[in-house]
């Protein structure tokens, strides 16, 4: 493995509320993820896994602790630089897909490239390539409401990886999908990981976690288990 981890969080805490209603969503979480790893984070609801994911995706900020993404301390970055990090380094897949409504699949996939300032023709080419990767090249002009849940999520995956980010984060990507669609999406993840992409996903389904090669279990804001599993289990 290379010397520098893609993702390095140290004693991360996230506190909501104050006084009697104070909730410690994360309570001293430290994780390192190396390049090319496929990590599944599991835990019951309220264990802090979504909070962790949002912090990893630079969508939220921790209360204390440091987060180094590709060696860069994220907490030191300003608004514009954070936008750049989200754009270049991270691909985020949401449970609720979060595609822009009434906008074609290919336009949705192009969006991160547009924000990075890429020219329209090159953008279109890469977006189509990315859609092809998730097997939806023939649905490029469809709008989200014309696609099935599995297809929408695959569009979201295509959008997450179109910038070739160092890190692909997926927050319960199969949570809203039936078993068939789940298979579709997971196959895409497997292929991406096989191609060397770093993936961190949250799930509460063991079958989904079984695709990963490392399992981290959270409970009440603590890491209670961190083990290699599946194909790569020692």
């Amino acid at each position: 493995m290379s010397a520098r981890p893609v993702l390095d969080v140290r004693s991360l805490t996230k506190v909501y509320g104050a006084g009697d209603t104070l909730v410690r969503a994360l309570d001293g979480v430290s994780i390192e993820v190396e390049r090319g790893e496929y990590v599944a984070i599991m835990g019951s609801s309220g264990s802090g896994k979504s909070t962790l994911m949002n912090i990893l995706g630079c969508l939220d900020v921790p209360s204390t602790g440091t987060y180094l993404l590709d060696g860069v301390d994220v907490s030191r970055l300003g608004d514009a630089q954070l936008a750049l990090v989200r754009n270049r380094l991270i691909g985020f897949v949401f449970q609720a897909f979060n595609l822009i409504p009434r906008t074609s699949a290919v336009a949705n996939v192009e969006l991160p490239l547009a924000y990075s300032g890429m020219r329209a023709a090159e953008r279109r080419r890469r977006a189509m390539f990315s859609l092809d990767l998730v097997g939806l090249a023939d649905r490029a002009e469809h709008e989200p409401n014309q696609l099935s849940g599995g297809q929408q999520q695959r569009v979201a995956v295509a959008r997450a990886l179109v910038t070739e980010p160092a890190l692909l984060l997926a927050d319960e990507p199969t949570g809203n999908l039936d078993s068939h669609a789940t298979e579709e999406v997971l196959r895409v993840f497997d292929d991406l990981n096989a191609a060397g992409r770093t993936i961190v996903l949250i799930t509460h389904e063991d079958e989904v976690a079984a695709h990963a090669d490392r399992l981290i279990r959270l409970f009440d804001g603590h890491v209670v288990e961190d083990a290699r599993i599946g194909r790569h289990a020692a």
Binding site: V61, A80, F92, T103, Y115, T163
Partner: protein, 389 residues
């Protein structure tokens, strides 16, 4: 990301929800058009009133006797035509007015204002002859029985016949029609074209008798001198008459009063229109705010994908600007087209400042309520924007 690209994003944003965009623009359109058009109607009616009054002649004064005295005589009129005491008087026309029945080949027509006067009356009262000719000073001196009739009289009595040169019977005497007056816009309820004018001497001889005059029409050299002339003739009249046996009616005073009334009317219409603009504005605000939930989530998504705040703000501001400017522009266009038609008998005259005001207000409302929520959402952390309900 360059500006051109952001504009394309904004256009796509507007196109993404066509119905909402169209409704927003419609709200602005109606508000803007209503304000401009209603103010234009008010302004148009004010101008129409002003036109009608100036058609009466704004540089004239009418001296009338009050009910007390039979005091105005032709001698009084002659006294007013005094270059020393009243240098600014251009002409003085003594007037007797009576009702009369005109008969031509068995057709009868009754008119309420059969005017006996001097030839100066035609210019002073701004009532030129259309066909034929005015009677002359000589006709007046000789008491020749000639008459100039109004359009309405000509139409009533002479269907298909040129009235000039024909003879009509008035009060048992034959009068020759010398001319027909030009059509004049009517002020008030009376048809000012339903009239006939003959030499004063002839009218007195045949109909009115040698009593007092009905009024004296005094013409000033120009409309600025009306007030001067009024004081001049007051001086002259006071030497001959009791101060309260006559009164002087001033057309420009009348014009002023009427214009004030019309201005009040315009203000009232403007207020109604302003309320409609306000209601339209609330409609715009409503549509903009209702979409905030969806747009806030969208902003969250865009931020999560790495959109800088500046780009998001620009996109939403351009969207709001386009909606309100296009809506406002169409509103102005609708108002301009609408003002070409007569509305409740008034030809609207657009007031430029109302265009600027209506457009400005609606664009500001659109920008403010479209831009403000977007600015607020763009400041949120992506996760808060995504969770916004």
């Amino acid at each position: 990301m360059n500006f051109h690209e952001i504009v394309r994003f904004a256009l796509r944003g507007i196109g993404a929800n066509k119905l909402r965009s169209v409704l927003t623009m419609l709200g602005i359109l109606i508000g803007v058009a209503a304000v401009i058009l209603l103010v234009a109607v008010g302004n148009g009616s004010a101008q129409a009133i002003a036109d009608r009054i100036s058609a009466l002649g704004t540089n004239t004064l009418t001296v009338m006797s009050t009910s007390r005295g039979a005091s105005l005589s032709p001698a009084t009129a002659e006294a007013l035509d005094d270059p020393v005491l009243a240098p600014d008087v251009k002409s003085v026309s003594p007037v007797v007015s009576t009702s009369a029945t005109l008969t031509y080949e068995g057709a009868e027509h009754e008119i309420s204002t059969f005017v006996g006067t001097t030839p100066e009356w035609f210019t002073a009262s701004n009532f030129p002859v259309g066909t034929g000719a005015v009677f002359t000073d000589d006709d007046e001196a000789q008491a020749r029985r000639v008459v100039v009739i109004g359009q309405t009289v000509a139409e009533e009595l002479f269907t298909g016949v040129d009235p000039v040169g024909e003879q009509v019977t008035i009060g048992g005497a034959l009068f020759t029609v010398a001319g027909v007056l030009q059509e004049k816009s009517s002020s008030g309820f009376q048809d000012s074209n339903d009239t006939a004018v003959a030499p004063l001497s002839a009218v007195r001889q045949v109909l009115a008798g040698y009593g007092s005059l009905s009024s004296i029409l005094v013409e000033a050299h120009d409309s600025d001198m009306v007030d001067t002339v009024q004081s001049e003739i007051t001086t002259v009249l006071n030497q001959r008459l009791d101060a309260d046996s006559y009164r002087i009616q001033n057309a420009s005073q009348l014009l002023e009063t009427q214009t004030e009334t019309a201005d009040t009317f315009t203000t009232l219409l403007g207020a109604v229109a302003a309320i409609s603009l306000l209601v339209g504005g609330i409609g715009i605000t409503n549509i903009m705010l209702v979409t905030v939930t969806e747009r806030t989530r969208e902003i969250g998504i865009r931020k999560a994908l790495g959109a800088p705040r500046r780009v998001i703000l620009s996109q939403f501001l351009i969207e709001a600007t386009l909606l309100s400017v296009i809506g406002g522009g169409l509103g102005v266009a609708a108002a301009v087209i609408g003002s070409r038609f007569e509305i409740v008998g008034v030809t609207p005259v657009i007031v430029p400042s109302s265009v600027a005001l209506a457009l400005g207000v609606s664009v500001l409302i659109g920008l403010f309520f479209g831009g403000l929520p977007a600015a607020r959402a763009a400041r949120l952390r992506p996760i808060d924007a995504l969770r916004y309900e």
